[in-house]
Amino acid sequence: MSTDNPTYDGTASGGDPRDGFIAGLAESVADIGATGVGIIEAVGDLLLFTWRTLAWLFTRMPRRDAMFENMYRIGVQSLPVVAMIGGFTGMVLAVQSYTQFRTFGLETQLGSVINKSMFRELGPVLAAVMLAGRVGSSMAAELGTMRVTEQIDALSSMGANPVHYLVVPRFLSCLLLIPSLTIMAIFMGVVGGAVYCISFLGIDYHHYSANAKKFVENWDLFYGLVKSMFFGATIGIISCYRGFHCQPGAEGVGRAATTAFVYSFMVIIVLDLLVSIVLDQIYLAIWPAAPSLFGA
């Protein structure tokens, strides 16, 4: 038996009646509108993806072996790079600031500037940028390849939830381990700055350390770690989202990896400003006299 035979209309369509300036203008407006709708859709989709990821944290935690594997890859394997970047950043800060401070005879104050910068800004941001570049791109490429080769569909077809299985362990690992990476970046920056100032610039150790302790408070460490957790969550979500929505082919995977880093970095910079403003307001409002971290 055979069903009703549908007819095939193989003819090409006729000429497009819409031409001329008005039609071109209308198409441009339509394109702008479509871009706007696309952006709103993408943001909405990202928020839904974030919601689905967060919802799993309250329903079922990921398997322990998946967590350990991701924590090792995201946290432990990132430590050497973050340590090196942190150490050299501390030294570069010393080099850049020394000439200016010496002009005013304030070179013994270098420690306070280096430490404050590392605790509040450079430690969290450096750790986040390293995580986005080293881990975020890799996660997007890995998940993108899984999407392209139908491995994510295979997971779904076997009754596993891909968000729970693939995204939640990566997100949690980024969120929980970025504070450790930040502490490492801060520590190495402080040590790097101190070693350069004392050993190469000849600044007196006692004056340097006294000033370094004087201006750094517990709040500064808290400030840096809170920021870093926002950054870690951002990297986890954006990288996984880009991987999940990867376009087909090798180019699609490459683009997913690149956009994961670029979007993460852009959001990190914006969040850096917003979280800094909020934390400063909180500090001024409820905790104006925090004790020094080093008890100076």
Binding site: T3, G10, S13, E150, D153, A154, S156, M158, G159
Partner: protein, 281 residues
């Protein structure tokens, strides 16, 4: 007549402006082996993924055992999907896992009663399946990248069978394989249908495979211009009768003859440009 296990009712699937399937209706009774044939890009894989709920219909309804999978909550959807086995075109094995871990994955994920009752990890089931699909035990420790295409397909089949599914979905199971290995896969599909009494849906271009394995053949065909898709069912009948179809498009497809297809493709090309480009002039 008994209730169909899978019922596709006026299904339409659209991705953005691209309509892939239009108003497709199909019933698959329990125990039947159905082959879905059709040209590349006509929406066969989309239809297969819609059946298991990986793609949501734009219009119409797909039900499995009288329930629509896309309307179920996550927990129930996961439970229902254990009743399916899906053999993907390139097997879709997890790169980061060994063959053994790939096959055991559904068991670890769902821990079915049978496995728990035996107090095991399902390794006995895995060894039995590896033997059934004709793979040596030493592949269990290998990674998918170390396997040939035929081996990957057979591992994919073993993974699909590990939960003892009621329905097996095959996406182009013989594509990219040599004739001998294609026939091995065909034999395996036949044996699975008989041994496990599963309902099978096979998406394929391979008429030898469709004739050999399927009880029934459905051909999808783009109703509108080729670049716009809109596939509908052109032929729905037994695998024996497909060769005698009076429809020119069906007979051309089953004989593998292009006929006037090239002219149709050129006529359907947007703006009059064809794929020969400037070189043709």
């Amino acid at each position: 007549m008994s209730e169909p296990l899978i019922n596709i009712d006026h299904l339409t699937v659209r991705f953005g402006r691209q309509m892939v399937l239009r108003d497709v209706s199909l019933e698959v009774p329990r125990g039947q082996t159905l082959a879905i044939i059709g040209e590349s890009g006509c929406g066969k894989t989309v239809l297969l993924k819609t059946i298991i709920g990986l793609i949501a219909p734009t219009a119409g309804r797909v039900t499995f055992d009288n329930q629509s999978l896309v309307e179920l909550d996550d927990r129930e959807l996961a439970r229902q999907r254990t009743r399916f086995g899906f053999v993907f075109q390139n097997a879709a094995l997890f790169d980061s896992m060994t063959v053994a871990d790939n096959i055991l994955f559904p068991l670890k994920q769902h821990r079915p009663k049978e496995v728990r009752a035996n107090g095991g990890s399902g390794r006995d089931v895995m060894h039995q399946l590896i033997g059934e699909v004709g793979l040596p035990v030493n592949v269990l420790h290998k990674y998918p990248a170390e396997l040939s295409g035929g081996m990957r397909k057979r591992v994919g089949l073993a993974r699909a069978l590990v939960m003892r599914p009621e329905v097996l979905l095959y996406d182009e199971p013989t594509t990219g394989l040599d004739p001998i290995m294609s026939d091995v896969i065909n034999e395996l599909m036949l044996r699975c249908s008989e041994a496990y009494n599963v309902t099978s849906i096979i998406v394929t271009h391979d008429m030898t495979s469709a004739r050999k394995v399927a009880d029934r053949i459905v051909m999808l065909y783009p109703l509108a211009r080729l670049d716009r898709g809109e596939s509908q069912i052109l032929y729905d009948g037994s695998s024996e009768e497909v060769d005698d179809s009076s429809d020119r498009r069906v007979s051309q497809f089953v004989r593998g003859e292009a006929g006037d297809r090239l002219e149709e493709l050129q006529a359907a090309t947007v703006g009059g440009d064809d794929f020969f480009g400037d070189e043709r002039s």
